[in-house]
Symmetry: D2
Amino acid sequence: MPGPAIAPSELRRRYRAVRAVTETLCAPLLTEDYQTQAAAEASPPKWHIAHVTWFFETFLLKPHHPDYRAGFPGFEVLFNSYYESIGKFHPRNQRGHLARPSVEDVYRYRRTVDAAMEELFDLLEQQPDAGICGFIELGLHHEQQHQELLCMDIKANFAVNPLKPAYRHDLPRRTVESTRPMRWVELGEGLHEIGHVRGSGFAFDNESPRHRVWLDRYRVADRLVTNGEYLAFIESGAYTQAAHWLSDGWAHIRRHDWQHPLYWERDGQGGWLEMTLGGWRPLDPHAPVCHVSYYEAEAYARWAGQRLPTEAELEVVLAQQPLQGNTFEQGFLHPMPAGPEGQWHGDLWTWTGSAYLPYPGFRPLEGSAGEYNGKFMCNQMVLRGGCCATSLDHLRASYRNFFYPHDRWAFTGIRLAGNC
Amino acid sequence: MPGPAIAPSELRRRYRAVRAVTETLCAPLLTEDYQTQAAAEASPPKWHIAHVTWFFETFLLKPHHPDYRAGFPGFEVLFNSYYESIGKFHPRNQRGHLARPSVEDVYRYRRTVDAAMEELFDLLEQQPDAGICGFIELGLHHEQQHQELLCMDIKANFAVNPLKPAYRHDLPRRTVESTRPMRWVELGEGLHEIGHVRGSGFAFDNESPRHRVWLDRYRVADRLVTNGEYLAFIESGAYTQAAHWLSDGWAHIRRHDWQHPLYWERDGQGGWLEMTLGGWRPLDPHAPVCHVSYYEAEAYARWAGQRLPTEAELEVVLAQQPLQGNTFEQGFLHPMPAGPEGQWHGDLWTWTGSAYLPYPGFRPLEGSAGEYNGKFMCNQMVLRGGCCATSLDHLRASYRNFFYPHDRWAFTGIRLAGNC
Amino acid sequence: MPGPAIAPSELRRRYRAVRAVTETLCAPLLTEDYQTQAAAEASPPKWHIAHVTWFFETFLLKPHHPDYRAGFPGFEVLFNSYYESIGKFHPRNQRGHLARPSVEDVYRYRRTVDAAMEELFDLLEQQPDAGICGFIELGLHHEQQHQELLCMDIKANFAVNPLKPAYRHDLPRRTVESTRPMRWVELGEGLHEIGHVRGSGFAFDNESPRHRVWLDRYRVADRLVTNGEYLAFIESGAYTQAAHWLSDGWAHIRRHDWQHPLYWERDGQGGWLEMTLGGWRPLDPHAPVCHVSYYEAEAYARWAGQRLPTEAELEVVLAQQPLQGNTFEQGFLHPMPAGPEGQWHGDLWTWTGSAYLPYPGFRPLEGSAGEYNGKFMCNQMVLRGGCCATSLDHLRASYRNFFYPHDRWAFTGIRLAGNC
Amino acid sequence: MPGPAIAPSELRRRYRAVRAVTETLCAPLLTEDYQTQAAAEASPPKWHIAHVTWFFETFLLKPHHPDYRAGFPGFEVLFNSYYESIGKFHPRNQRGHLARPSVEDVYRYRRTVDAAMEELFDLLEQQPDAGICGFIELGLHHEQQHQELLCMDIKANFAVNPLKPAYRHDLPRRTVESTRPMRWVELGEGLHEIGHVRGSGFAFDNESPRHRVWLDRYRVADRLVTNGEYLAFIESGAYTQAAHWLSDGWAHIRRHDWQHPLYWERDGQGGWLEMTLGGWRPLDPHAPVCHVSYYEAEAYARWAGQRLPTEAELEVVLAQQPLQGNTFEQGFLHPMPAGPEGQWHGDLWTWTGSAYLPYPGFRPLEGSAGEYNGKFMCNQMVLRGGCCATSLDHLRASYRNFFYPHDRWAFTGIRLAGNC
């Protein structure tokens, strides 16, 4: 769902900037780090940087660059993620089995595609084409999504390593003396509009059409639930008491013996450590609890006598807040304690109580890009608000992220809501 | 969510009637049939008739009958379905492993509980108690749900048997010469109310509170999709083409090699047979397609250029239709071709495009009964409308049934909807 | 491998006797008990009594009875166990899913086949045929194997039931004051012959040909390892110490969280209960430990500083002992404490350290019966000596039983051996 | 089971030589290749080269080098393969998840250990110690085993890659015009000795003690079964006919849909390609069939009217043949067509019909090294003869290799045997 036409020259600038961010993000990696896939859902960094390149090659260069000749045989299969209409693709959970192409070859692939994209920009400057520009914009947002996935997947790979390596040792942090109190923002009942405002900038197809929803009076917490608050939940014995849990959630935590969020580990002295992109750190009680599943978020909210917001409730509130927060640009790459102004955008994707389903009148993009979002509208829950690994110019109030209820390797957190 | 107080004498009459239906339903079964569990999700009939009895014993007799003494040691565990707050329960997929108690013992259990319930009714007639009466009503609707499960599970057990036995050989059927054309019922946009109207009769807790929803203009088909129409979908090659399917659905049908609805089998002469409670029959092209998953319903609708209705859309339409149709009382125990008046209630539970989630302001029942519905509000989809195995006095427009997207052993069907 | 020709009249007598034993064994069962399959490897009793009948129908009546007409359609598939050359068969782990044919129909099947077998005996008395008689003898030994399986499988079904029912409440037992000391029988080195002595009576094909083996000096314990001795192994912490176990065994006991033999349960007062066909009983420290896997037997022997005998070593010793012991005829249906004379035949099948492989020059039976034993000669270990559920006239020193190293629902025990 | 004392200076020479071979073997690998684990049973090359180093560090330096200080924290867990008595170890199927230590760090580890080993050799030259020297010899043979595993695992990693890369493009090959006819070597019955001759050179503990076995007259083929011969088996429909297979084998090939040996692929023109360390090559009908499981070897032999040799039968023949053949030194790294002299040592490990069990009187090595071989003596089959990736000075007639019946990523082949 492209926004208003962007001048090709501006788009070229953004192309260069976004592509550069990806490479900066990978700069601290060793070749071995690029190659590793420690969990079925986490792809090797090498795969990510090839796949986002494949996206430009497949959706822009092949159809729209008059002279482009694909020069990397097999890549169309290896780096297709899940586009059935494009052709076959390598099984997701076996991406780490592919030693070749080498990291060097993948960077060569990037440079080749980048060069051809520059040529395409030349052409577009001579003969602008809103459709092509819209697709380039989609490709950039796609790459920004994969920048976030890179952060998640790098973390997953580093976390399983008994040597406890860190992705970066120089990540900054923000600390506070005490937890900022949580306050409620209340909203009156009424007919609201949610979804992407046509013509107002970029959005994915799943954010449209904008449509009316009725909301009863409700309230939403102005910051995320903290580690300290979540610890009280753990220490109350919640992970051993069925009463707090959805039936599927209870079955899941017992089958997998979950007793705390992902990436927590006891420090052997009564405290806890938490894996971050900066390595293992003592758990900060004032910072938001992170890497929880929907099951845990929902159980926590119930235990706390509250509930999770719906996606409509949250979008309405987020749309009223300035678009700023602890996003990728801040450089923390980890959620930070709320400041006096509360927490809205950034820090952590907030689980909502809404299933990921099509909006009324939803129509997927034409062609293969229609597989981008629509076919996943089942079995997943919506998350809102962006996180510390989301670029600010990739974020907006109508953004719908989605994961399975048991997923927790993303930067996910909890925001409480309630009726009033 | 009990309805308005029912006189104990009337409740006693209904108790006797509902309990008798269960036993009539089981009358054609051999002892071996009672004992069998051919699928993890289908319980042995013996278990069902004990469990519904356990429900009255646990929620009525133990707390409210002054002299009741439980005389069947171990049954509190064996026949507890999933109430964590009551205590332990036998694993669902191992219910068929329990040769004992015998069928005879289970009927003795039923008679013992029935006798004590008669005493409780005596007490209630002397000293009415709306709370207790409400729970009895819940118990009766619970038993009616299990009557429907009995039909489903008996069918599942008979279907796997290579000897092709029938539950009953004398089931009636209705045949037509041609498929009644499908017509659309159109509804204008507006703010609607859905959910149970407080005080209007029985409903489960998950149907409350009644609340407002905004609906855009939409239309709903006035009958279900037929076998003939679904065959065209199959014959178009749809089960081999990813484009029609949700991603999870495509993965599921490939993993399980699904090529047609459950209980269909080629007849060896180019046609199809369908398993029914009356045994294997030639597929009737004019009758509704049955035993499809959500994945198949959703894919069919997309293939047909339409979509599934949301639960709100469907409730609004159903509430406008007379409460009648091919329900349990008709005795077909199978969906029948639509008559001139179309098809609304009964025949088959219709998959909606809505996830099973709490209504705004939902509160589960107090105590253990709170586990009845609320804890299942994740990963499942809502179905509406009742089926040929649902008793009419158990049915209402606000009824929310729910199954996992891959489930198809229930009496499930497809109704198309669209925007207009 | 039939023995010397048996007169048809004698064979008829044995046929009647063996068939009667099967039915006597089933007499205490309820219809529900006949129907149940509580473990994938344990068949429902109904299936057993039909299958042994199918064996006579398939291998004797169909090929050799001139007028026999199969009157039970579908049974040729349902009750074929694993004979690929005969045709399709129902999956083993789904035998309990078949409510039909009813127990009554299966007994009708038995009576029909028995009547036809009587006619075949009439013919054989007129015109003896050693080949046919040999196959009948095979069918009788086959049925005796299934009598033992019935005991095992009935026990498995009863054992999972929380109501703790017993197959029979009137089973006798033998008790002693103290454990008889274990003594060693020593044998000198030399070239021995093992295997079935041609012409000496019935044996299965896998016991032939008789052949020479070289044995070094060795010794074998003259009784089985007791519960008391095995308890010392448990109490030493053996189930938590990798050092005692084969690698596959250690992986297996950890994956399945084994901490004691199958059918043991703590009694809540520091002692143990043991499931028997007579119900749950306090563990008798003087009786042989039962229902152990090869992994446990091997680990115990190593822990005790000994080893298991090879099958050749054990056959040589068994062949020197009188063919008597605690067999099916004794009526205990459970291993009993050794008497002053020690324990050789009966009580429990003894795990040997020998893999189940073909003897040098082994040739399976001709035709479908060749699938009886030969195709299982991989991944299993040999057991020797018969058990409390083996009929004496079905037992011999050369008998090779076999199970997977992790199996323990058979009547299996431990006999120590060593070098000297 | 060390051989006669080797002079420390000679041992130092061999140490340097064996260690150098490992590094030469890895020279063609990219960093990405070192890191990859494409199958649970195949370890990443990085892990192998660290593990063999860990072996020297753990069993030689830590106990016997007076000043050695372990400088690589965590390596004692990461690179312990399966020694429970040493301590914890990283799960085998997750070795590829460990991006760190880097390849460079692992080589640094190697150099550190090599330097300390040189110091240990200095000490040994001053004060020889047969026990320590024996352990060094064990470590060298251990490393040679891992050289063979490196060849197997590198092949497994390369084979799954759709880009079809080759480990080396310059591997030599030997071709012939026609298949050399197979001839039988016959041996008379008698009492033979097998196992390691004490004092005759190095052997693993599982090859002792040397002991007597009786063998009947038998014959063994003087070359391996070829691809062409195996193709006839395939083309006869053998993979679809149960009659040829062991029961477990038939279940396995159907579950995994095996239709040909591992690493075969149709070339799209009616022929076959075969993956080799030199890349994908057209299948050579005259070369030995490779990468077959025991199930396939056993089925082929039965189909061909023959059988597999027992390990005793094969050892007796191998011991009569000169110790030469297509081994690692030849540089083919693939089995080659038999020459006029037949094929005995090298080319492919030959499946025998013998289960991997302890020899009579077997005693594992003392201490942790006792876990080297003994605990795997269950569920596996013995293979004999070495292969094209086995160093000649690591090979001997008494060598017992072992794999599970379904394994086929090793260099395994088929040699026929029979009775006469």
